[in-house]
């Protein structure tokens, strides 16, 4: 099975993150940029499918030059190769334009299965799998916490607010996964060394037949008008329990009218 995994480089969600003051985009220049955590689960799932059914795993990333670090990190887990869509004109692209670019790249890769994380930790917009599926005219099984592959039939347990749904589709398809689906492997030393030699193909907008005016700020369908840091919360009263902690807690809740 020919599997493509979408990988996004994001600012570390464990550190302070900001929007740039000049153009309102995510500040990646001063951030510690890492592979989007949920994507590691997507890579793991792809590798498991390849191990069980054979085939090839390709990483697909759209992002600036520095995204190469995340691509190598992804490859060190075991995928075979990577495709990096990189073009200065992409800076400032909205989700709708991003899906256009990724769909164009996927069109060239002939994937049976596209796997991605359910969301990225920077935008948390959660729209990419369905946008891509809509453009490619293929099935989307999203929010999977379990995935079974039987020939060309895919069956997923999709997490819902009330429980789960069992959903099925035939390949080609896009599947997005939550972090409950597996436990991603750590790259071995051998894997890290091998990743340095794995092929990484770069594609420009020209290679994909997408006009620069369709992406970036020119092609954006939405815009950030302004942004500001929210004042940090400050801690209130803190007491140490000396036998009456539970009662005092309820007294506080009562003054706030929760009890």
């Amino acid at each position: 099975m020919n599997i493509v995994v979408l990988v996004k480089q994001v600012p570390d969600s464990g550190a302070d993150r900001n929007l740039r003051s000049d153009d309102n985009t995510v500040d990646r220049g001063s951030a510690n940029n890492v592979i989007n955590e949920m994507d590691e689960y997507a890579i793991e799932e792809a590798l498991k499918i390849k191990e069980a059914h054979g085939g090839e795993v390709t990483i697909l990333t759209m992002g600036p030059d520095r995204a190469t670090e995340s691509i190598r990190k992804a490859l060190s887990m075991g995928p075979d190769k990577a495709v990096h869509v990189v073009d200065d004109a992409l800076h400032g692209s909205c989700a709708v334009a991003t899906s256009k670019v990724l769909a164009a790249a996927l069109g060239q890769l002939n994937a049976d299965l596209v796997i991605c994380g359910a969301e990225s930790t920077d935008g948390r917009v959660q729209v990419m799998p369905h946008m891509i599926a809509e453009r490619l005219g293929v099935a989307a099984l999203t929010g999977a916490r379990k995935l079974t592959v039987d020939g060309s039939t895919l069956t997923a347990e999709r997490q819902t607010e009330e429980g789960y749904e069992v959903v099925t589709a035939s390949t080609p398809a896009v599947v997005s996964v939550w972090d409950t689906i597996n436990e991603p492997r750590y790259p071995s030393f051998k894997g890290i060394m091998a990743a340095k030699k794995k092929p990484v193909q770069t594609l420009s907008l020209g290679d994909l037949g997408v006009a620069p005016a369709e992406v970036g700020f020119d092609g954006a369908t939405s815009a950030v008008v302004e942004h500001a840091k929210r004042p940090p919360r400050s801690g209130g009263e803190k007491i140490t329990d000396e036998g009456e902690g539970g009662v005092k807690l309820v007294e506080f809740l009562a003054t706030e009218k929760f009890v």
Binding site: A140, L141, G163, W178, T221, R230, K238, F258
Partner: protein
């Protein structure tokens, strides 16, 4: 005034979800609210009274197996056709998994901008979003097409405004491409009659400090006494204490209740990302240095196994 389409979110068990009432309330500020019900046969009739109570002047319904038996795509096709026909002032959906997914497909079908996790929307289309785990406030606008917005639950207070909506059944014209992902089974795992986590006005969450799955009964008991939902930190979920759909945090649900009670939760960024826009935060932790106390309006340092039962007893006494 132009119509504002509100794509209804509802559950079999509880009917119209609170976020839908919030969207209807918001829609009244922007134009004339029309509810769009997408679901099984009879869905609109079951929901119409509640939708009317909150100001839906009209209900568009697309019902049946063609709509309900497949994942999201048929719903997007129906809404896209409706948008083209009625030219609404805005389209509002819930910022849930399904709401965002329908909106995603609509954005591509209509070549229209999309804004998710919106907490406020002005009449000129300026939306307010909370980004980066609640640390940044963003104002943004759709610059191509109409405001296509997903609204985060607990963003505003729903207020009733009675209307008597007429139901218009839409002719469903879904394509084969919409029927590629089939829903084979729906399984409910939500326990009891607690409110849904993202919509609850009170959330009581347990973390690693709760110790084991059995001890989560303490968390549930306090939640029930406060009429709240139960949440869990990633550490508690990863340790198997509580199911994943109740996880609050960066890789779980984002909640913004009136009251958030954190029991045995240290307050790692992972967790704070999902709860720090809560109005009032209360924490119990045995570690006085736990970062959760930096956020808590009221914190108790001590043994949760003594404090929580005592608090539960005190609430019962006061009732």
């Amino acid at each position: 005034m132009s119509e504002v389409l509100v794509v209804v979110e509802a559950t079999k068990e509880f009917g119209v979800k609170k976020v839908t009432l919030e969207m209807l309330t918001l829609a009244r500020e922007l134009g004339t609210p029309s509810a769009v019900v997408l679901g099984g046969t009879g869905a609109a009739e079951a929901l119409s009274a509640k939708l009317g109570e909150y100001g839906a002047e009209k209900i568009y319904a697309a019902e049946g197996e063609e709509i309900d038996g497949f994942l999201v795509a048929p719903k997007a096709t129906v809404v896209a056709e409706l948008v083209k026909r009625v030219q609404p002032a805005a389209v509002l959906l819930a910022s849930s998994q399904e709401g965002k997914e329908i909106a995603a497909r609509l954005a591509v079908k209509l070549d229209n901008g999309i804004l998710t996790d919106v907490v406020a929307l002005d009449a000129d289309g300026t939306a307010t979003q909370v980004a980066f785990a609640g640390s940044t406030i963003v104002k943004s606008k759709v610059t191509k097409g109409l405001p296509l917005v997903t609204v985060r639950p607990n963003s505003l207070n729903p207020t009733p405004a009675a209307a008597t909506p007429a139901v218009e059944q839409l002719t469903v014209s879904v394509t084969d491409a919409d029927k590629l992902a089939k829903v084979v089974e729906r399984v409910a795992e939500q326990k009891g009659s607690r409110p849904e986590l993202t919509e609850a006005s009170v959330v009581v969450s347990g973390g690693r400090g709760v110790g084991n799955a059995d001890n989560f009964k303490l968390v549930e008991e306090l939640a029930d006494l406060l009429g709240g939902a139960v949440g869990a930190s990633r550490a508690a979920v990863d340790s198997g204490f509580y199911p994943h759909q109740f996880q609050v945090g960066q890789t779980g649900k984002t909640v913004s209740p009136q009251l958030y009670v954190a029991l045995g939760i240290s307050g790692a960024i992972q967790h704070r990302a999902g709860m720090q826009t809560s109005k009032t935060i209360v924490a119990v932790n045995k570690d006085a240095e736990a970062p959760i106390f930096e956020l808590a309006d009221y914190g108790v340092v001590g043994d949760l196994f003594k404090i929580v039962p005592q608090a539960a007893e005190e609430i019962r006494k006061r009732k």
